[in-house]
């Protein structure tokens, strides 16, 4: 356990990206949220750790640590109360003005643009954590064949919904922000919509599956999203422990 501040405690499970380490972080988060301990302000799971923000005038670090140790021992004992993972299907219109770097990715990898799209949509990616901007999913498991270097100079403004690849990471930008990923497409779906009862499309531990759609479908779904009638396609058909 590490000190992040007088009101922050970090439980670190490892220093690398792996589905096993991430699963421990998510399980601890879920248990901490379930137990509703007085003095805990919020729990933030990441790739490899959990940050607990607490009020030190309400609960001491040593009491909190003891509590966390206890929960950690429970995790080992009962092992996996395995919820089937949710797969959120995210429609993407690839290439053209919505994905200006698709040609670059094809050239760089020696693939055709169709092959890049096929590989990008070939499997669901684990949502390791959310961060950076509201609703932004950190995904793992991009096939090496389509990994490309980030842009050296970040773009100042990347439009909301842009889907990109940077190094061996992929994902999409839920709000307009600066960024250095190569943009290969755009989704009409909002990962963050403050008008919804649950404003966030993903939770850590979900899977995200990109689906190839054409420009007509893109605009049709975008209209539905704007009118509030779009229902994201979510399934829970079992993928076990993939990363």
């Amino acid at each position: 356990m590490l000190v992040a501040s007088e009101y922050g405690l970090v439980v670190e499970f490892g220093t690398t990206i792996s589905p096993e380490i991430n699963m421990l972080a998510q399980r601890l988060t879920r248990l901490l949220n379930m137990k509703r301990i007085e003095g805990i302000i919020e729990v933030v799971p990441t790739y490899r750790s959990v940050m607990v923000n607490f009020d030190p005038l309400c609960i001491t670090r040593s009491d909190l640590s003891e509590f966390i140790w206890q929960i950690l021992s429970e995790i080992k004992v009962r092992d996996i109360e395995r919820l089937p993972p949710r797969i959120v299907h995210v429609p993407v219109c690839y290439g053209g003005v919505l994905g200006p770097d698709l040609d670059f990715v094809a050239r760089y990898t020696g693939l055709s643009t169709q092959e890049v799209i096929k590989i990008h949509t070939s499997k669901p990616y684990l949502v390791y954590m959310l961060g950076f901007t509201p609703g932004f999913p950190y995904l793992g498991g991009l096939p090496d064949r389509i990994a490309v270097p980030r842009q050296e100079k970040p773009r100042a403004k990347i439009p909301e919904g842009s889907v990109g690849i940077g190094g061996n990471q992929t994902g999409f930008y839920p709000v307009e922000s600066p960024g250095e990923w190569r943009l290969i497409g755009r989704t009409p779906v909002k990962a963050f919509n403050p008008k919804n009862t649950n404003p966030f499309l993903f939770s850590a531990g979900d899977y995200l599956h990109f689906i190839n759609i054409n420009i007509d479908e893109y605009f049709r779904i975008r209209r539905e999203v704007e009118m509030g009638t779009y229902i994201p396609d979510v399934s829970s058909m079992g993928i076990e422990g993939e990363g």
Partner: protein, 314 residues
């Protein structure tokens, strides 16, 4: 109703912040200077989490439709009520059709205007704080503009009288500040020499400093190995050291996760001092233990209790 006559430089609605959503990538936002924000609320008898107006360096001006009890705390922006000077760190009545006008800050950087009942903008994810990057909260998720109309809430918590705050509760803002720091969580990624350099040097606040973070300039802090880590959570006040060795202090709108090593964090009680520091100002850091950080929080809490009592007694 309060109408924005002039918008100032970067004027937003803030409260205590949006806590509980960092797991979804949502920064806490909230008032940069929590102390001034809370005291302004207490002076008008609000709950401490009522929404206030935060102004940065150059103040805004407002016209009031109705008589209102207001308070002004933080940087001195030479406020005037119907052209007569008002005193900072005080509460006073603005008459019907009164106009409050602020100029530029003479000392400090951010000024808080509280109105009895709080500024009534919609609550988004349990807070009224503006987070402009995602266009969330406050007034349409953005900084105020000329012509915007603000409504005033009804939720005054207790009766108060107009008054000036006792001087012992009024902080002094200077060009040089001292901030207390708790080491962690990645202080082991720096050499002992790098850590001593950090605590023995003077850092200058660059003009690349805003509600997201304060970027500093000074002697480089060297990492023992790489500068980056597999992204983890960032807490308010964290001191990140990117590859260029120049510290960045994470403030209200900071990203919730990031991939740079963090040497330590500025203690919560001192973030209000930082919030009032301007680009060009200098910082010295002092390494402290956890107990001192908690004592500072207790002291701050005691101040709020005493101020509440003073306000209620009149």
């Amino acid at each position: 109703m309060i109408t924005v006559i002039h918008q100032g430089h970067f004027t937003t609605i803030q409260d205590e912040g949006r806590w509980g959503y960092q797991a979804y990538g949502m920064p806490s936002a909230g008032a940069m200077d929590r102390y001034s924000c809370r005291v302004a609320n207490l002076l008008v008898g609000n709950k401490i989490n009522a929404a206030v107006i935060e102004m940065t360096m150059f103040g805004a001006s407002f016209k009031f439709d109705e008589e209102q009890l207001v308070a002004v705390c933080g940087a001195d922006m030479q406020g005037r009520l119907n052209d007569a000077p008002i005193s900072n760190w005080s509460s006073f009545l603005v008459p019907k059709r009164g106009e409050i006008k602020f100029a530029s800050a003479t000392t400090g950087y951010r000024t808080y205007l509280a109105v009895r009942g709080g500024v009534d903008v919609p609550v988004v994810l349990e807070s009224r704080s503006t987070y402009t990057r995602a266009r969330v909260g406050g007034y349409e998720g953005r900084a105020l503009q000329q012509g915007d109309v603000l409504y005033v809430g009804q939720d005054g918590a207790f009766q108060v009288h107009t008054q000036n705050l006792e001087s012992q509760y009024i902080p002094q803002y200077g060009e040089q500040i001292n901030l207390r720091v708790l080491l962690g969580p990645q202080d082991n990624m720096f050499t002992p020499e790098a850590i001593s350099t950090f605590f023995e040097s003077v850092y200058t606040i660059t003009d690349q400093s805003d509600r997201i973070g304060y970027r500093l300039k000074g002697p480089r802090i060297m990492h023992t190995g790489k500068a980056d880590i597999v992204s983890d959570a960032v807490c308010l006040g964290a001191i990140q050291i990117p590859a260029n060795g120049m510290p960045v202090i994470m403030t209200a709108d900071h990203p919730t996760t990031d991939g740079f090593a963090k040497l330590g964090s500025v203690i919560r009680a001192d973030l209000s001092i930082l919030a009032q520091a301007r680009p060009g100002g200098t910082i010295r850091f002092r390494c402290i233990g956890e107990q001192e950080a908690i004592e500072a929080l207790k002291h701050e809490k005691q101040c709020y209790i005493s101020i509440t009592k003073l306000c209620q007694d009149g």
